[in-house]
Symmetry: C2
Subunit: 270 residues, 2 copies
């Protein structure tokens, strides 16, 4: 499957305008042959817009913005993954990402489990579920959001379930360029999977988003990487490439889970 | 503490000559102000010398080569960490690394837990212990060998115990340059610790060792990095640098071990 990653600035607080961006990007990605378009974290509303604005714009997983996005998916004939503030059935607001297939049907909804600083904690409740996995045209896809992917545990859990592509809507800002440049390729390499990291660019308040969205192969090599500005990147996800690297370095088979009990032991570090 | 990493070719199968190399490197590192010298995996004997040669040269942790190394440590006034084939009290041979302090006293002995392909499996039994931790002049040091460090679980387990420096004797060969260049810095960054990766260079049989030994800071930045040839590199390990990066990205505090049960669940992946 060919996939596309949209990197762009967003209109903070203007859902209608961001849905228009989504429509344009979906058409362009579909024209490029992509079957899935991945957009940044909190794509519909902007991210650092303050907890009140986030709460006011939060919608249920099947709210009106999702219905509009489903229409975009159907019209362009492309699956979509994008970030948005979700109003849960429990009344709480989650930093979420919704996966719709090309028929506009919901395939998955991931709630960010690892919240980043006060920016997240003041606005969102943490997701509590297991890692989110979905299937799309036979491809097994795991979904994480931004800070989630920086924890090796999360990508490992997805790899252990046979995930072939980890899709990561993100909003990564200065000074964390190491994450875009080095940590994300390391996650792909150490788990032998494809990883698509869809970042924002431009400014939002005091934040400078880094761009550098990328699609990385299971051998850690960039298949596509953005610069600092608006861009749509594409790459082909061929599971045969996973099978080609595994025998040289069979990390998943050589793991020794019986020695890893400390990883899952509750409590804070020494 | 200033530390040194020795990268060099070795004399395959000639322990006496490799001990001479150790003596020279120890004197040079001590003259440069280092309190600890880290040498490659299987430093005393060479690595890809065949299971029979390995078994013939294997010595107990307190064997004659260790006694000679202890004398070198005392004479130069520097702690030493180096790889060697250990003949265990159970009669098995382990791919081990011995840490001696500047008085020649044994502080730790790590047995490689994650064996790499037939090269390791034909020659060694796997270590079964918990991650190896030692203290040296107030610095908390974790020890891993080569392939061990490629598993994020192992470095995480050390970080959770408060380790400040992970020292890794290695013998990493083509085509695995991604490990030297990207994976090792990622381990330092995602755990907020210093990491010293002491590799070989040159050839041994059909293997081409990559060099690229490095000492990486807790922010993922190289403090020192070798090229492809023989070299001694030095860097200062200042724990204050760990404290400086932690607040920006408190990975260890933001972990959610209650979600990580799958990491430690026995069984092979999907």
């Amino acid at each position: 499957m060919r996939i596309a990653v949209f990197q762009g600035p967003l209109e903070s607080g203007d859902v209608a305008q961001n849905l228009e961006r989504l429509e344009h990007a979906a058409a362009k990605a579909a024209a490029g042959g992509a079957g899935l378009l991945i957009c940044p974290e909190m794509f519909l509303t902007g991210y650092a817009i303050g907890p009140q604005a986030v709460a006011a714009l939060a919608e249920p997983v099947d709210g009106p913005a999702a219905a509009r996005a489903a229409g975009i998916a159907r019209a362009a004939g492309i699956a979509l993954l994008y970030g948005y503030p979700e109003r849960g059935e429990d009344g709480q607001v989650y930093n979420a990402a919704l996966l719709l297939d090309r028929d506009g049907q919901r395939r998955a909804n991931h709630r960010k489990t690892h919240l980043f600083g006060t920016l997240d904690r003041n606005a969102f409740a943490p997701g509590e579920g297991p890692p989110t996995v979905a299937e799309l045209d036979g491809l097994k896809i795991g979904i994480l959001i931004c800070y989630d992917v920086e924890f090796p545990e999360n990508v490992r859990l997805l790899a252990l379930q046979g995930v072939e592509l980890v899709a990561v809507p993100t909003a990564n800002m200065a000074p964390f360029a190491f994450v875009c440049r080095s940590l994300v390729p390391a996650r792909a390499y150490e788990n032998h999977l494809f990883l698509a990291y869809a970042n924002r660019c431009g400014h939002e308040g005091e934040l400078e988003y880094l761009g550098q969205s990328c699609i990385v192969a299971p051998d850690g090599v960039d298949l596509a990487r953005s610069g600092a500005g608006e861009e749509l990147i594409l790459a082909d996800i061929d599971p045969a490439r996973i099978e080609a690297v595994r025998p040289h370095n069979p990390y998943l088979l050589d793991r020794r889970p019986e020695l890893y009990g400390g990883i899952a032991t509750p409590g804070k570090p020494a």
